[in-house]
């Protein structure tokens, strides 16, 4: 399995400079090591699946790992822009890393399709954020469906346990705002670190506050710890997780103690259970087939799906940008590409349908999220 061709392809391209076409260079920055590795590794695996040609143009993907560190992200992106003349950037995986890039993007006129969660990356669309887009549903969107479900099922008191980092902090902001709006009482606000071996103290506080539901704002397998501890402590109420746990390792580690958990997710997680006319069903099934065929990949990953969606967006935008007459590798082409992404209509992807606009650089709507429940060790679609 090859990693993406880097220098070799570029050298060849340079040698074949007689050709009138210039290659399309797409830079990809993800966190394949460090605390966010569980997210980045799945995205890294997806890169070989991306199409090698788009609209007749050869595409080179240059993949760099930022080790979850913001300075490294900035360095990497500068390298991509300066050494590889990328036409667009896909990534980073994390919110602070995406935020750190806004100045660089505006300065160099490079469009970015981020794979990170927070809406702050693209809202409001001002001079800096003109160049920033993202594919994951924003935390606000996901928080809305969670809170809606809570209210609809009669929950009045909620406890919050989240990561003590940007992810947990971002979720707290959205969740607490919505909870206040919908008159949910938040009875506890606890934090824990990814590497904690025990959350006994936090769970004690939560249980003592007697909530109807507990909302766990964590991602990946570390999200298992508070839930298992709650169950062991005798908590019998409902548990909600975030879409950050939507992968099978979470199910594996948590086992039977996860039964009945509510997890908001992108449609791709339960693609087979969607109704046939759901716009995300076909792209999702195609992606799942390709992803699960990778040896060692395991089953579908929603994070990897974000990368796939970014590629779908590019595949939609590039032909239109080329038609504008721009040549890949030039600032004019990047601007045309940015405009093309922004004006993309009804781009069907694994996580919904994208309709970007000058004021909305996420472009997703109600069709981009579903509510699921963990039943017998697998994800069960229960509504939108």
């Amino acid at each position: 399995m090859r990693r993406i061709v880097v220098r070799f392809a570029l050298v060849l391209a340079a040698l074949a400079a007689a050709s009138a076409h210039a290659d399309l260079n797409i830079g990809i920055v993800i966190s394949a090591t460090g605390p966010a590795a569980s997210v980045g590794v799945t995205q890294q695996r997806t890169v070989p699946l991306l199409p090698r040609t788009v609209a007749g143009e050869k595409v080179n993907y240059i993949l760099l790992d930022d080790a979850s560190d913001t300075s490294t992200t900035v360095k990497n992106v500068r390298k991509l822009i300066s050494e590889y003349q990328i036409d667009a950037l896909v990534g980073p995986s994390l919110t602070p890393n995406s935020l750190a890039l806004l100045d660089v993007l505006a300065e160099t006129g490079t469009p970015m399709i981020s794979l990170a969660g927070s809406g702050a990356i693209v809202e409001p669309v001002d001079a800096k954020r003109r160049w920033a887009f993202k594919t994951p549903q924003s935390d606000t969107l996901m928080a809305t469906i969670v809170v809606k479900h809570m209210v609809e099922t009669g929950i009045k008191r909620v406890a919050f346990i989240g990561f003590n980092d940007a992810y947990g902090e971002g979720w707290w902001r959205e969740f607490s705002k919505l909870a206040e709006l919908r008159k949910l009482e938040v009875v506890a606000n606890e934090r824990y670190t990814r590497t904690d071996t025990s959350v006994a103290g936090q769970v004690l506080r939560v249980v003592a506050a007697n909530p109807d539901a507990v909302f766990i704002a964590a991602s990946g397998t570390p999200a298992v710890l508070p839930q298992v501890t709650l169950v062991e402590r005798g908590y019998k109420g409902k548990v909600y997780q975030t879409h950050g746990v939507a992968n099978n390792d979470f199910l594996r580690v948590g086992g039977a103690k996860l039964e009945g958990t509510f997890v908001p997710a992108g449609p791709v997680l339960v693609a087979e259970q969607l109704r046939d006319d759901h716009p995300a069903k076909a792209p999702s099934l195609e992606f799942i087939k390709k992803y699960e065929a990778i040896p060692g990949a395991g089953s579908r990953s929603t994070f990897a799906a974000y990368l796939w969606d970014a590629s779908l967006l590019l595949q939609d935008a590039v032909p239109r940008a080329l038609k504008q007459g721009g040549k890949p590798g030039t600032p004019e082409f990047r601007k045309a590409l940015r405009d093309a992404i922004e004006t993309g209509k009804d781009v069907r992807a694994t996580n919904g349908v994208f309709n970007m606009s000058a004021t909305d650089h996420i472009g997703l709507d109600q069709r981009s999220r579903v509510m699921t429940r963990i039943e017998k060790g697998s994800w069960k679609y229960i509504g939108e």
Binding site: N189, E190, R191, T193, R194, T195, T197, A200, P222
Partner: protein, 346 residues
């Protein structure tokens, strides 16, 4: 806070603390013999857990390939050095430790252990793999730096830590694993039932402290090991090989780490990079003991565990800040009480 809450937090603190005690013991042991602050101690713990988890999931233990690789590199280095020095003394013994045992452990792990083996046998396989990693690691990373200052040894340990974490990501992937829990019922204290996990970990820590104190304090071999850290030349003059001492202590540390992993595995999910923070908290305990005393190190490590448990109840968002800020006055107190004269050159 009511009594039930207090007891629960106390138990939680003791359980976590006992884990840190295991790590602190190993750190003190390695330091007293070699003057190396074994930053990668946590990696031994994590490797063992994740290998058992791999067996449980029916995956091939990739750690075996790392062990084989390390054994080959260490053997190559040893042979090259002996070729240059034209010195074949004790070569058989070296090859046993550097090549034969690791390969045997790898063979065991790959062919004799799989998903259907009993859990205990899987643990043995994992422990054997991690333990035989000790001599090659010492040969590759620390033997070339024999006699260097503690600062350089520390940096080497850090470099080794980077290496092992990176290999860990390759071997185990970024997701974590837990081990099946202990199923026996713990004893009752009042109306509070102590969990099986706590019993196991505390018992293991206690036995380990006892064994360390006995070995290093009472036996000739233990004292010989300690002597090498004070003076390498002196040790050589009385027939103790500082390198053998170093290798032995590192192997023991790997063994302790591996066993600790199997003990902690059921209590919590461990990841390829969990080792560092575990080692760090063990380090706090070890420093509390002045990097010399086992009992004090155990007390310090236990203290960290308790502090963590209660801090996460009182103000979970500030837990790290509380724990690490409170370490400072405790250290100041220890520094005042410790009669060691500050004469060690960096």
């Amino acid at each position: 806070m009511d009594a039930g809450t207090f007891q629960f937090l106390l138990q939680d603190g003791i359980t976590s603390g006992a884990v840190y005690v295991l790590l602190a013991m190993a750190l003190v042991m390695v330091f007293t013999v070699t003057r190396i602050v074994m930053v990668p101690q946590g990696e031994f713990v994590v490797f063992s857990v994740l290998t058992v988890a791999a067996f449980q999931q029916g995956l091939a233990p990739r750690l075996a390939w790392i062990v084989v690789g390390a054994a080959l590199v260490a053997t190559a280095m040893e042979l090259a050095q002996r070729w240059i020095a034209r010195d074949a003394a004790g070569l058989a013994g070296r090859l046993l430790a550097l090549l034969a045992l690791p390969l045997a452990a790898a063979a065991l792990a790959v062919w004799a252990v799989d998903q259907s083996s009993p859990y205990a046998w899987q643990c043995v396989g994992a422990i054997a793999l991690v333990t035989t990693l000790g001599p090659p690691v010492y040969r590759i990373a620390f033997r070339p730096l024999a006699g260097a200052s503690p600062l350089v040894l520390l940096i080497a340990a850090i470099a080794l830590h980077f290496l092992l974490v990176g290999l860990g990501l390759f071997a185990f992937g970024p997701e974590g694993s837990r081990l099946p829990g202990f199923t026996f019922e713990g004893p009752r204290i009042g109306d509070f039932r102590v969990s099986a996990q706590t019993v196991v970990v505390v018992a293991a820590s206690a036995m380990l402290i006892g064994a360390m104190l006995l070995f290093f304090g009472q036996t000739l071999a233990g004292k010989a090991l300690r002597a090498t850290a004070v003076s390498r030349t002196g040790a050589r003059l009385v027939g103790i090989s500082p390198d053998s001492a170093g290798e032995l202590s590192l192997t023991l540390a790997a063994l302790v780490g591996a066993v600790s992993g199997v003990l902690i595995g059921p209590a919590t999910t461990l990841y390829y990079d969990s080792g560092f923070i575990l080692g760090l908290k063990g380090f706090v305990g070890a420093i509390f003991g002045g990097l010399a005393g086992y009992a004090l190190a155990a007390t310090g490590a236990l203290g960290v565990g308790l502090l963590e448990a209660f801090a996460s109840f009182w103000a979970s968002a500030y837990k790290e800040i509380i724990v690490f800020t409170l370490i400072v006055p405790v250290l100041m107190w220890r520094a005042l009480v410790d009669p060691h004269v500050d004469e060690e050159a960096a």
